[in-house]
């Protein structure tokens, strides 16, 4: 039976050293990296025939919409669920992302992605999750107050920005994101663009722009443009950074002039 050769960079816990372990996995048609990892879990024996612990990794949706399975595959960051074996050179190397603390093997702690969303207030502040306009009662009229009107053109732009799966690939690929720099990264800046375009979100634009000023803010972007190439959802991240950058500059100048 044809075999797949996989080399995995492992680490037992955050304090342990990392090491490489090689595996050979029976190949089946249409396989992706996740199914190779599933095979290893069923039979945790390395390429030298020695029993080992199952490799630890994360996955959930398996359709590239949850971001869980992001790792570095053959040197490039991507999703293990959409990485087809036939499209990869062997031996296939799998490594955890480097810009996030390793938990174990291929699992990393990505809480900073979600902290950034908090920092930039990536939400529409609504009055409450109650209905407005119509009535709550069974059998009553049926005319709740809708949200703002949006053109299809605008909707398409915003929808595409809203498809970010918080995978962290853009941070992994960015030279400005590293141990020494607190740069917030493209994903959060893109969220600012999304919410600042929204007719209601726009009313709270300033607080989001404020959050992108100063340390780790948008000024730290070095314009390497790696983010946009790494993004699995093809989000126009460099456009987002440019648009938000202009807004921040305008806001900062306005603030300076006391406007």
């Amino acid at each position: 039976m044809e075999k797949i050769y996989v080399k995995i960079k492992r680490r037992n816990n955050p304090n342990a050293d990392s090491y490489w372990e090689d595996f050979q996995v029976p190949k089946k048609p249409g396989m992706n990296v996740v199914s190779a990892l599933m095979e290893i879990r069923k039979n945790p024996v390395n390429a030298r025939g020695i029993a080992t612990t199952p490799v630890v990794w994360e996955a959930a949706c398996l359709e590239e919409v949850c971001g869980s399975c992001t790792m570095v595959i053959n040197g490039k960051v991507g999703q293990a669920c959409s990485a087809l074996i036939d499209r990869l050179d062997q031996p296939i190397t799998l490594e955890p992302m480097k810009k996030f603390p390793v938990v174990r093997d291929l699992v990393v702690d990505r809480s900073k992605i979600f902290d950034a969303l908090k920092r930039v207030k990536a939400w529409i502040p609504i009055d409450g999750a109650h209905g407005m306009g119509g009535t709550h009662s069974v059998g009553g009229p049926n005319n709740p107050v809708p949200g703002p009107r949006v053109t299809e053109t605008e909707r398409i732009i915003s929808h595409d920005l809203a498809c970010c799966i918080a995978c962290g690939a853009c941070l992994e690929a960015c030279p400005q994101v590293n141990d020494k720099s607190p740069f917030i990264g493209a994903a959060a800046i893109n969220q600012v663009r999304l919410f600042n375009r929204h007719p209601i979100g726009r009313l709270h634009r300033d607080s989001r722009l404020e959050a992108l000023m100063g340390e780790g803010g948008i000024d730290d972007c070095g314009n390497a443009q790696n983010c946009v190439r790494a993004c699995p959802k093809e989000i126009p991240l460099t456009e987002s950074i440019a648009e938000v950058g202009r807004e921040v500059t305008k806001y900062a100048v306005g603030k300076l002039l006391g406007r």
Partner: protein, 586 residues
Amino acid sequence: MKKPKIIVVGGGLAGLMAVIKVAEAGWPVQLFSVVPVRRSGSVLAQGGINAALDAKREGDSPEVHFQETITAGDFLANQELPRQMCFKAPEIISLFDRMGVMFNRTPEGWINFRRVGGTHSMGGAKYCRTAYAGHTTGQQLLYALDEQVRRFEAEGLVEKFEGWEFLSIIKDDRMAGRDVCRGIVAMHLATQEVKAFPASAVIVSTGGLGLVFGRSTNSVLSNGSAASAVYQQGAWYANGEFIQVHPTTIPGEDKYRMISEAARDEGGRLWVYRDGKPWYFLEEWHQGNQVPGNLVCRSIHKVIHELGLGIDGGSMVYLDISHLPEEILQRRLKGVVETCEKFTAENPRKVPIKVAPAAHYSMGGLWVDDDHMTSIPGVLAAGECDYQYHGADRLGGNALLSCVYGGMKAGITAVHHAAGLEKGEADPAIFSEGVKRQWGINQEIIDRSGNENPHKLHQELGEWMTEHATVVRYNDKLKKTDEKIQELKLKMKKISLTDRGNWANRELVFARQLHNMLELTRVIVLGALLRDESRGAHYKPEFPERDDRNFLKTTKASWTPNGPKIEYEDVNLKYIKPEWKKSTSK
């Protein structure tokens, strides 16, 4: 005075909506999830969410939506909650609109609604009732709620415990002979710390159970483990045998990827080779491809298993969209084309898609009353893990809606329950005992020695469940499946973990989940075995008709050491009396 906490387990659409309702009432919430909630299973939904706003003046109304929900469920759904849900739906859509969800728009800039055929038991949908955001509706709805919850988190009302696995509830039976829930025990997935969290109400919203079928269209987190744990602690589990199967999915080694029924709605055709020539079996048997999902499943099953005409003698058939104009593929079937290109490396414009039916949605779940309380006071359930809204089958676009509505309702009830609970009664010992018990289970599993691997056992379970407990069910096969499950339970005692460590040991967690899955599959299989009729998604060729006299009843399972005890309960038929219709078998 500090208000006691309310715990929500699971942060999909249902859990997040519950969190919002509790936080808005001013109560502190702790939200538990195995993954950051933004990665929950709800992201997978593509099709859309229903609401009878009658935006195109076709004569639709919440009343009609309600009637179709009940008929689609073959009259098995209790009628109170589905009715409330359908009437609340328009408001729910505008709520998401206010939260910023980018629904598709009409040329005038209002939300657009489309017709979704899907599982409609009466054939093609009559009304434009489904709101959608490109092909990422579930993702967009989930994000909207995730963002609102993050706002409460920033305000300090919500505390998240992401990366924690729920293990059990903590029951207090020292009060007047009546159980009441006092909190949960959970385990951290990295440190493996097992800890008790006191609460005055617990909402379980842990999603579906696709993983018990080995592979399904669901997220791999949808394993039913949490619901099963609560069932084993005494909560009733209802209508477990009702599993919706999606007719057209791409079988992968890791999962079955759904190909939306829109593919058939837009003109996709199913075929296999017969005598060397393409044979469009749905067109011959049912005059077309736009027929209800169940019928498609049964027809495919017949082609494959009775006629042996699956592709290369295997268990797939062709779904062909290669003849459709590029404009339709780009505008209406973008998600389908993307799924094929990304996950099969084949171009559906050129070659037909190879598909097979796969487990998709569980209509059954934890039994809850009309306020979403389970049979254990203080434990609530909402979302795919409750059983209330669909009956024997589900209308496409109603699941997301039921999760959101159920979450609202459960949040409100949890607050009422917590407010009414006498305080200061819980004996601290119940918390330490709860932790000790769960910790003991971990140790016991690590100490097992034998030569079974839990992942291999799971694969075997999945193969049996998929073959005998999905599209077509026979009593002898169901009996054998139940015996198999019991055999697997015995083999579980002989597993030997290849990882015995105490840091991020996923094998240990999986062994625990598999134990719970095995308990739950018995509920599904025995429920199906005892229900000698065909209704909705449950189809027995030996009993092809619906039998209202004997089975217009909710199945209620309670856990016993000797297996599930099954009872029946009358269905609430307050608004619509069942009409008899010729069953749709083939």
